[in-house]
């Protein structure tokens, strides 16, 4: 029992850490898609931000400058997407794919040229990284049964970004449902012509939404490279942008359900790590690749509508063209 509890605590702890970039990216996607812009470049923005943050942090030895660079680069990528798809009404999926591929090549190319370490950044340590926050009395309370473990492992001892991601959910919900910006955001994704005739610029709304998308992805990517890890690695986003997108769909474009979907995927990942090489009675050892593939398979099953039908914002994916 004790052992099971410890394992559970460790898994919840891992779930929180893995869910952080997913939540940030999924909320980023929520703003884009609610405004009517499909963004499959969450992946590219995570990776790009991870690269920019690690590069600046490695050079300046300042995690905060790294965060600024991560957000800045991610927003810049979002603006490229906006310029192609909003200003020039290009295909949103094609643009997103272009950004993903561009960033996948650009990061290692620049890293190699600048640091000569085979396409990675140098290890970032000390003030170049974001470290876990240990809450008051975490160590003293560690030995108190149940509550102590919960407090010191799950509540305390995380990175700033973990808390940020959790706070971002209610803030997003509040912005989307309780503010003028949110009303217009939801309107522009459902019926851009209604927004246009109401005298609000559709393009301006969508660009604003994409800036928020860029900022959130920037934080997610920064977390990957200088909080969760200690530097940029080739393809370190490893499909998390796509999983975030799947979580967004599964969460039906709503903040809270999306967060729970992220937790679900993150929990799968935690289970995966736990189950590696474990001999399960009656089943045997599950090959590690199968467990790694689980989130992707789950996504397909979710998308196939076996867990309810997802209805996207009506105008998402469509460029807004005024009719004569």
């Amino acid at each position: 029992m004790e052992e099971f509890f410890t394992m559970l605590v460790l898994m919840l702890d891992a779930t929180l850490r893995v869910a952080t970039p997913l939540i940030l990216a999924a909320l980023a996607g929520l703003f884009a898609e609610r405004s009517g812009v499909v963004d499959i470049a969450l992946e590219g923005k995570l990776l790009g931000a991870a690269f920019a943050a690690a590069t600046v942090a490695a050079v300046s030895n300042s995690a905060w400058l790294g965060l600024g660079a991560g957000i800045g680069f991610s927003v810049a990528l979002a603006m490229v997407h906006g310029y192609a798809c909003i200003t020039h009404k290009g295909d949103q999926v094609v643009s997103g794919m272009a950004i993903n591929i561009l960033v996948a090549g650009l990061g290692p190319t620049l890293a190699l040229a600048w640091f000569h370490q085979g396409g990675q950044t140098p290890r970032v340590e000390g003030s170049g990284r974001f470290h876990p926050w240990n809450w008051p009395f975490a160590e003293t309370l560690e030995d108190v049964p149940v509550i102590g473990a919960l407090y010191s492992e799950i509540i305390s001892g995380h990175n700033m970004f973990v808390y940020l991601a959790l706070i971002a959910v209610p803030i997003t919900a509040w912005v989307v449902y309780k503010t003028r910006f949110g009303l217009r955001l939801r309107a522009v994704g459902e019926s851009p012509e209604a927004v246009d005739t109401a005298g609000i610029s559709v393009s301006a709304m969508r660009f604003q939404a994409l800036i928020v998308t860029g900022v959130l992805c920037g934080m997610g990517g920064t977390y990957l490279s200088i909080a969760q890890n200690a530097g940029f690695l080739r393809n370190m986003s490893a499909g998390q942008g796509f999983i975030a997108l799947a979580a967004l769909i599964f969460g039906k474009w709503r903040p809270w359900p999306t967060m729970f979907a992220c937790f679900l995927f993150a929990f799968t990942d935690a289970v995966q790590t736990r189950l590696q090489g474990v001999d399960i009675p009656g089943i045997g050892i599950i090959p590690v690749q199968f467990i790694q593939a689980l989130p992707f398979a789950l996504t397909v099953i979710l998308l196939a509508g076996f867990v309810g039908k997802a209805v996207a914002p009506r105008a998402s994916g469509l460029p807004y063209i005024k009719e004569r």
């Binding site: 449902y177 309780k178 503010t179 003028r180 910006f181 949110g182 009303l183 217009r184 939801r186 309107a187 459902e190 019926s191 012509e193 209604a194 927004v195 246009d196 005739t197 109401a198 005298g199 609000i200 009506r314 005024k322 004569r324």
Partner: protein, 523 residues
Amino acid sequence: MTTKETDAASPPGAQPPALELRGIDKWFGPVHANNKISFAVPKGTIHGIIGENGAGKSTLMSIVYGYYQADAGDILVNGTPVKITGPQNALARGIGMVHQHFMLVEPFTVLENVVLGVEGGRLLAPSLEHARGELERLERDYALEVDPDAVVETLPVGIRQRVEILKALYRGADILILDEPTGVLTPQEVDQLFDILRALRDQGKTVILITHKLREIMSLTDNVTVMRQGEVVANVKTAETSREQLAELMVGRSVLLRVEKTPAQPGDTVLSVQNLSVRDGQGVRRVKGVSFYVRAGEIVGIAGVAGNGQSELLEALAGIRPIEDGLIRFKGEEITAAHMRDARRMRELGMGHVPEDRQRMGLVVSFLANESSILGHHYDPKYTGPILMKQGAILQDVSEKMDRFDVRPSNPLLRTSSFSGGNQQKIVLVREMDQNPDLLLVGQPTRGVDIGAIEFIHKRLIAMRDAGKAILLVSVELDEILSLSDRIIVMFDGGIVGEVAQADADERMLGLMMAGERLDSAA
């Protein structure tokens, strides 16, 4: 109804007009959409703008509302020249617009739709509360009853239109522009709308009504501006004109209101339908147990306000939409079974189908004209061998058809989208008629088609009837139903209200039936 005498009697210069246009000019590429448009709309009047499709009415109003900038000319509001740079700007000058296609966010409530764009603060709750109070006031003043918390997608079209009017009034509109507001309304809803508009006028608001329906102009407006091919051809007081005169002004020549034809010589029953019910994509039952028949050598017209089940009926007969219940017999054979019901099977059995919305369904606008011209017949041995399509034969066949139906330009290798509405419709018609079907299903054959092509299309349909074919015609244009049909079936709310022979029908009677009133005298 009492017609209020307008300011026309007051001395000139006493009060500037609410809206005045001087020499508005607008080009779209090679098209001269508005050519030196000038007229004035006195304050507190209902002003009609009438013209055919493509006469430039909507472009003009889009300029007034700030969507487009005129290439030349001035707009004066209350006597002051203004530059309207966008909808926001138009609203600030007291100009509001009710669009033909409603500009509402469907999953939003009425209240949310009303405040969108004029929230007045960063937080939503206070704006919504303020709007609730305002709406109550507007409701009292103009008899505009709407539940502010209803979600728009659950509301019928008539109510949605009220929401649009409320939106404009909430924004402080003094001049209200309505673009073809009655197209989707039932006759009762039209009456209610007109009452609202009169109430608005009586409270000092100025209303501009854009329409192509003479009836509405005559019954509602104080003054009317007639447009043709981008120009103003007349500015008259409604009381001093007549339907005939307006029609002639609109078209530019005297109009034949009826197509010449001989009495029908009906033969055997080609299509018989019993107790047919059809549901739409959302699962709503749109056709409710209708029964009728169509014989060889006659045109049966289905009249009704748009959205009363005619579209679904037509699509079900054509095999595009599954049926829920009932029996369909075609040339004596029962074709109700699900495996029979696809569009290709229906064509093979001898049905032609000219769909209501040719751009969405009848053609592929991005295809070349010759590709669009074989749509639905592409597997015909005439056009394809066992593997390869017969490109030469297709080209020859399509060229010949285009010549015969006078499609211009007569070039099968142009993109379908580069043909005008009338010519696109001819491409569809000739394709469907040339298969020599025993039954032709026709939806809105002349929607968005210029007058010249309308006459041509009507003549072709009559000729087909005279050749002994059965035709089922669905149209929301009463004039078209009256001039083409031999028998007229009126649909309301998914059911058949009654049937009349053309000789016994008139507009008033059909209008009543379209509002759901059953006539015992139906022949």
